[in-house]
Subunit: 136 residues, 4 copies
């Protein structure tokens, strides 16, 4: 899928909608995400927290894991929505890297729909990836 064909406004609106389902019982910080897969499907996610904080999962990863579990093997764009336009955490950037290229666009939005565009490579430069692991 060519970057030009990405309907990023749709992706962002889906992330904003998904945020409404956040289970943010502990942080109260609700996050929504939407991922576009190479085969043109969109999967959404929200953060799902846990009384045991390390077992919390971020919205971006929920969306990506959902996509992979439904047969997607490559992701081509991602949108994330929060109250204040917060960026994806380092863990989510790394999970995007497993399934996406550094040139993949990432849209960072707030709940009113204001957004800016960056890339995975811009968020996780000089990334560790499978090729490093196999170099052992």
């Amino acid at each position: 899928m060519n970057k030009l064909t990405i309907n990023h406004e749709l992706l962002i609106s889906r992330a904003i909608e998904a945020r409404e389902r956040a289970y943010a019982a502990y942080s109260k910080y609700k996050v929504g995400a939407a991922v576009l897969t190479e085969d043109g499907r969109i999967f959404t996610g929200c953060n799902v927290e846990n009384a045991v904080y390390p077992l919390t999962l971020c919205a971006e990863r929920v969306a990506i894991f959902k996509a992979v579990s439904e047969g997607a093997t490559q992701i081509t764009a991602m949108a994330v929505a929060t109250a204040n336009g917060g960026t994806p955490c380092g863990s989510c950037r790394q999970v995007m890297r497993e399934f996406g290229d550094p040139s993949m666009p990432v849209y960072i939005a707030d709940v009113r729909g204001n957004y800016r565009e960056t890339t995975l490579g811009g968020l996780l430069p000089d990334s560790f990836s499978v090729k490093d692991l196999s170099a052992e």
Copy 2:
């Protein structure tokens, strides 16, 4: 939902099917899971690994996070399927605990459909939960 109404054979077969989508690039250990939610829906998951091993997610959690992200708030039964009938890990047991009661049935199956039944409380006795956290 009453336990008697659980179609556990359907749940197990969905877990076995979901296992086919596992992204087990590193361990080669494929796992599938299916969760029944209080509103009668079934969500499935598979394990999704990562070159950075800690960022891997287990099948059971993929299924549960998917359910929560689609509006479920309570889970009532879970099935997990592996080649050899392996049990859920401690992390997955804890995530089940966030959304399920100790009496919740858990079906542990192999890929040929052999299974045994236990409960969440049987897998995670004396569990930490939100009531402990708020007792501080």
Copy 3:
């Protein structure tokens, strides 16, 4: 090391002391832990939280990872201390299982020194372990 030789009161007091160093900026739930290794050393840990909740680590795991990073290969007893005698989470139980036997004693204490004794097998029955993984 024989179980009879475990000075569990020392282990518990070290866990209570370690709790003072907890970085519990988000949950405010402070936890301390102490682990006895097969070679007779004690390592302590506290929970270390993160603004990105999934990157938090529990006290028990901090203690165990510290022990392994200092050359320990087997753990023989564990103590955990909280305000209210909360139990270890499922993730910590699973990490104990990587380095300890199901018969390993676990002491669950509150900050006043009240405690009860259980075992790893009592906390994580029917556990997943390396032998399951290699059965694929």
Copy 4:
């Protein structure tokens, strides 16, 4: 602590030594790390893996959690050592961010002592941090 006062060769050599203790039973990819804290102490770590892959912890985080559990509150430099000069994963970058400034130097080395220098901000630009969380 001023950046000029960092003995980065010592830090790198400690990371290389720590790598020897890696418990890399599953990936076989051994990693060592060393962190310098604001009060001038050095703490080391290695990766500690688990049959349940998500419960693995990276060397950098073992070193940082060890430091915090021993009373450190701020980190000022980090070194990581692998066979091939692999970079820290996104999760470790985020944990560094909890306790370090973007200007913090990070030394990425191989086991022969070849290294290059970058900064935390260079590895995790536009990072999510506690100020985003509290903006909700």
